[in-house]
Amino acid sequence: MKKLINKPENYVDEVLQGMAAAHPETYAIGGATGRMLHRPQPVAQKVGVVSGGGFGHIPVFGGYIGDGLLDACAIGDVFASPDMNPMLESIQFASTGKGVLCIVGNYGGDRMNFDMACEMAAMEDITAVKVVVADDVAAAPPEESEKRRGVAGFVYVTKIAGAAAAAGYDLIQTQNVAQKAADNIRSIGVALTSCTVPQAGKPTFDIADDEIEIGMGIHGEPGVGRSKLTSVDTIADQMIDRLLTDKPVNSGDRVAILVNGLGATPVEELYLMMRRAKARLADLGAELAHIRVGNYATSMEMAGASITLMHLDDELECLLNAGADCPFWRN
């Protein structure tokens, strides 16, 4: 385990301290156990937008706190759901009387704990509702799409929900447009190397030097099987094919694309993947109306990349381009 860390048991809290030290105008640490990250000040008179989930995916989840994005976020241990309490604290922080939307990745613990937090919030007369992000097409077939994991698509849902709340949408409208975004997002990843959970001290999974796994989850969950490492064009094609099978892209469609690095893959290689993806989508006559390349949803030092597509309508495109500001995303 070759990591620049101190004691593994302090890893999460020290990273949070580093984030708050680097960006005090954006992040503050709060909550009874220090596991709620939040804006320095709540923003009055808008729907609150919060999230929460396991750690080790920066900027997902808490990194996206900022104007036009999240108000607060519950922070779990590495790859483990936060418990209910920082979720409730996040909801309480973000609540200014207009309700709170929780953006939740489709993982059992995250969902259940947010459900419980929403119930608890209701006892305090705070209306908190959930949108579940389940964009990983490799995790289950379309018929069982409710079993799909939430991966980099979280970024788009957060951007859309944050922009809607900032634009004055009410809670139901914010939830609806976030759900519309979630429904229009598809992702697939490819892993080249494992990461190591600090407290585990050894790689999460083994993968041979000439192997990749398409569709592997961001915690090392199995994907659609191992194959040999081929060219990036071939791999990008396989990924794009899966995405298109799941939800076709037609001539004239406007689409947002995110080519995302898992943490240890150089941006050079992400650009190679983008090059191919854009060519493929251009062949179909689609318009790439919004493009991002970089490390937007990671798994610590895992090497690999993911491609996320969001099919746009005017409302989604407008909200995607609306002003937003955090260290990892700016419009």
Binding site: S81, G109, M112, N113, M116, P222
Partner: protein
């Protein structure tokens, strides 16, 4: 005699005192297909609940709420959350009461199970702690002696665990390894067996 806050206190403390080896066993079991944190969840959960016993009110419903709250703080793992959910549902059910007849315990478990299904989205037959609960509820219905109740529950839990061993896990982390899970005890079901065994005076 009936089930009171005092019984709840004693049960929690008794399990807490005996949880050490159970925790190790459950970590190992969970580690084979999941993330190996079930034991940690149980150890921390019973520690938190036993700390909460000190200030537990006589209102059994509120006492169960206190236990639930203590359980929510342990971690984000499924089992902990489901246990908190179960305790909360049971608490709602008996709010305002100081005791519950032993014969009504099955009903309490039923309300807990309903809430766990609503929360976790699993079905009976998915090879989870729900299947243990179902077996227990069927067995202890109409039972009014606490000792017999415990014995019947423990043997029902053992039977459930064993009879599901050769089926695949259909939910949770182990789902993605469904085939590999055939032949392995479900950690949650195994945990229920050990917890009931630990309840023996």
């Amino acid at each position: 005699m009936a089930f009171t806050t005092e019984n709840l206190r004693t049960s929690i403390v008794r399990i807490k005192d005996r949880i050490g080896p159970i925790g190790d066993e459950m970590n190992a079991l969970d580690g084979r297909l999941g993330d190996g944190d079930l034991g940690v969840t149980l150890v921390n959960g019973f520690r938190n609940m036993s700390e909460a016993t000190e200030a537990m009110p006589e209102d059994l419903g509120m006492a169960l709420f206190h236990a639930a709250k203590a359980m929510t703080a342990v971690s984000g793992s499924s089992f902990g959350t489901l246990m908190a959910t179960a305790l909360m549902a049971a608490g709602k059910n008996v709010k305002g009461q100081k005791e519950v007849e032993w014969v009504e315990v099955a009903q309490l478990l039923q309300s807990a199970q309903d809430a766990m299904i609503a929360r976790g989205g699993a079905k009976l037959g998915d090879k989870t702690v729900l299947d243990s609960l179902a077996a227990i509820i069927a067995e202890v219905r109409d039972e009014d002696s606490p000792d017999a109740l415990l014995n019947k529950a423990a043997s029902a839990a053992r039977e459930a665990r064993d009879s599901f061993k050769d089926k695949p896990n259909k939910i949770g982390r182990a789902r993605v390894y469904a085939d590999k899970s055939i032949g392995l005890e479900d950690p949650g079901m195994a945990a229920i067996v050990r917890l009931l065994e630990a309840l023996h005076p």
